[in-house]
Amino acid sequence: MTIAIEVADLVVHRGSRPVLHGLTCAIEAGSITGLLGPSGSGKTTLMRAVVGVQVVRSGTVTVLGHPAGHTALRRQIGYLTQAPSVYADLTVRENARYFASLYGLGAADADAAVRDVGLAGAARQLVGDLSGGQRSRASLACAIVSKPKVLILDEPTVGQDPVLRDELWAQFRGLAEAGSTVLVSSHVMDEANRCDRLLLIREGLLIADDTPAAVKAAAGTDDLDQAFLTLIRRREAVPA
């Protein structure tokens, strides 16, 4: 097994507060890893550190053998921010084509990405005129357009209906099967079941790093939602 992302003793402070306290984990290449945890637990912060846009206090993050944020990684990484980051005053297609052009890709690749997120019908619409769910898919199209080796997706399916969610997950699976390493954060447990591995973080500490089946077994339940609650409450019961 090849490790695509390796995080060692990562400490991150945001504002004056510590957010990640010495987090260590490894993510296998070609897999889909789900990043779960309560709101404010540090999921976005960890993803930002992997992409290399987060100032870190100590520890290392290694992606495909390079330190996170290395120039060589910029062609190989795709990042979907939690809030859609696309130009509201451009059409969906213009956004996708611009982001494609940054990787030296042409209009055909951009249009394919727009189709892949189910926005072919809205390709000529201004992003500012889209619905919330459509806008986050427009942002997703710009993240997957280069078929990156490492794909960091911060809550990619928020606001999407079950049919679309299913289609998007099929896309992520397809990318992983083609060799991409996918890290997805989510609050939806039914999605967590579709991951190869889960990372559960709470207040900046890793409380589980295993397959969905093993996480459920450890909590002694068949329901991931319940397992999640059990693991978090178990921690709370132990005074720090």
């Binding site: 402070h13 945001r14 504002g15 992409v51 290399g52 846009v53 987060q54 100032v55 944020g69 910029r74 062609r75 990484i77 990042y79 921010t81 809030a83 859609p84 980051s85 696309v86 130009y87 509201a88 005053d89 451009l90 059409t91 213009e94 611009y98 982001f99 052009s101 940054l102 990787y103 030296g104 201004l126 710009c142």
Partner: protein, 242 residues
């Protein structure tokens, strides 16, 4: 290549905003017309003011537009995302420079055409030089706007940098009080402000048939100020943020 794609993207954003484009072209011409009627029959005063205004409008307008555009890139997260792609900081900065430089050229050409052809603006030197200096001024406004946006967290703050950056330069450029008549320290401040040189260059074009050495020197100072502002702006584009 990425530079040109970025320029194209910024121009496309402008194109979708028809009203901004219309105002970009119409506002300077309307203000020049106002000036014309204010100084009806005083051709000399109009010539003097209109010439300087042709250089000052693009400076102020491009400063405002760029600082807001760049602030949006920061607040909507597109800047953070761009900096994770193969785009280099210079691609973005010069992309803005090229795109708004082109917009400024259009603006200056229309405003100058109106001033010379309909309002009877009279300069010794060629209108081409006036447009050239106006575009350099616009690019200066743009570069300072990129820089200023780094110090603004909201659009309210960003627009307030305009009076901070533009008005002192306007007051001290020699338009209201001749520079020789200023107190020593004020004249020294005035000599450190790039708009002073832009205005002097325009006045040189107004007074001399051929481009003078002073004009070229002033023009070079403005271009130098653009480069300094762009370098400073590049330093404010941080790939990693807290």
């Amino acid at each position: 290549m990425i530079l040109l794609h970025t320029t194209g993207r910024i121009l496309r954003q402008l194109r979708h905003d028809r009203r901004t484009v219309a105002m970009l072209v119409a506002v300077p011409t309307l203000l020049l017309t106002l000036l014309y009627y204010m100084f009806d029959g005083q051709g000399m005063v109009f010539d003097h003011l209109a010439l300087v205004m042709l250089g000052v409008f693009p400076f102020i307008i491009m400063f405002l537009i760029t600082s807001i555009a760049m602030l949006r890139e920061r607040t909507t997260g597109t800047l953070e995302r761009l900096l994770t792609t193969p785009l280099r900081k210079t691609d973005l900065l010069f992309g803005y420079g090229l795109a708004f430089g082109l917009a400024a050229a259009l603006q200056a050409a229309v405003a100058s055409a109106l001033a010379y052809l309909l309002l009877g603006l009279d300069t010794q030197g060629s209108p081409g030089l006036v447009i050239m200096i106006a575009v350099a001024n616009a690019v200066l406004g743009m570069a300072l706007g990129l820089l200023a946006s780094a110090f603004a967290k909201t659009e309210f703050q960003a627009v307030q940098f305009m009076p901070v950056v533009a008005i002192p330069q306007l007051l001290l450029c020699g338009l209201f009080v001749p520079r020789e008549a200023m107190a020593g320290w004020l004249e020294a401040v005035s000599s450190a402000l790039p708009l002073t040189y832009a205005v002097e260059a325009l006045q040189e074009v107004g007074a001399h048939t051929d481009a003078t050495g002073t004009m070229w020197r002033d023009f070079a100072v403005v271009v130098g100020a653009v480069l300094v502002a762009l370098l400073a702006a590049a330093a404010t584009l941080r790939r990693r943020t807290p």
